[in-house]
Symmetry: C2
Subunit: 208 residues, 2 copies
């Protein structure tokens, strides 16, 4: 099973590494880190990752995982990426996104009038791109699975693992990753965090 | 603020990328990806990451974050790494670990008779290395903070962010990462998953 983890400059690392850690372990999986070229990609908070292949070389992945970016507007202009997504999606078993990655699927024509989720702050953008926006953490529609913001990729990938390999396998992976979350605060959604923090995130405010 | 994210071959990516995503965003933070050399490091499920500096070059980080590895026995023999940890820890504000990373702190002499946590499957190893093993998801002891297995790094780092920058900043980061976890299954600890799955994880069984 060839799983393509998509890389591009300024993508959000955890969007991709959550699903990677859930999905890339089994011996049956060959993970590919695919980008427009083999040049090192730098994530939006500075992490440098080396692609192992390119869009031109990887033409038939079984599964594609597309991360989002804090620079999602710029990402939507990456036509090499969206053209590749449109080309490979018809033959994937699963096409997956995390966070604003769903806007890239939409731009590639994969979400036309289909239900999907995204980071809570860009739901209007996903709607403008033609998807039926859901506020769920994970949305499955046929061969497309989308996750909400950043950390939702872990939940998305566990559900995907269960669909591909069965629930017991997904539970085994969850235990190996000790995924028994205990957030020290309860501010993971705009409803819980309140309007002031939500406004700050929308405006791109970062602490310290 | 210089934050050192420690890299070594076969480390577990999510151990490090969880804390990185929580801690590396603020403008006041300069993230460093530090390894024994600048050669590309390959994680235990295949992700290639490029170090930006070396142990020889980075001598005074404010914060150090040490990930674990599924190959934790081999990691304990990385004397360049543990020697560096022992050298820089006395001047850090915080020294942090995730998963079996705490066994590396112990090997470096940082956890002697101090409370700490680790991945549930290697608690006995951490005890043999001289730490007071706790089963908590996150343990704070003075300037040392340790997290349990893999995904616990996100919880650890949010608590660390709150200590460094205040609770409101940590909540803002949590909201930006949409960290409102909804695991599709409840098998994230050995108690919840049961003895069969726990035995399988201990034996290194992977699905599919």
């Amino acid at each position: 099973m060839d799983i393509a983890f998509v890389l591009y400059d300024e993508f959000t690392a955890l969007d991709l590494i959550g699903p990677y850690e859930v999905l890339a372990g089994p011996d049956s999986v060959t993970p590919h880190f695919v980008a427009a070229s083999r040049d090192t990609v730098v994530c939006d908070s500075g992490l440098p990752i080396r692609p192992t292949t390119t869009f031109a070389e990887l033409t038939g992945p079984d599964v594609v995982v597309v991360p989002g970016s804090s620079q999602w507007r710029a990402a939507l202009e990456r036509t090499e990426l969206t053209t590749w997504l449109a080309a490979v999606h018809p033959t994937t078993t699963w096409t997956a996104s995390v966070c604003t990655g769903s806007t890239l699927l939409a731009k590639a024509g994969i979400l036309a009038d289909r239900p999907a989720t995204t980071h809570w702050a860009v739901r209007d953008v996903l709607a403008e791109l033609g998807a039926q926006v859901r506020t769920d953490r994970v949305v499955v529609d046929g061969d497309v699975i989308t996750g909400a913001g950043v950390s939702a990729g872990i939940d998305m990938a566990l559900l995907l693992a269960a669909r591909m390999w069965g629930e017991d396998s997904a539970k085994l992976i969850q235990l190996a990753l000790e995924y028994d979350p205990q957030p020290p605060f309860d501010s993971g959604s705009p409803d819980k965090a309140g309007p002031e923090l939500a406004a700050a995130v929308r405006e791109g405010v970062l602490p310290a």
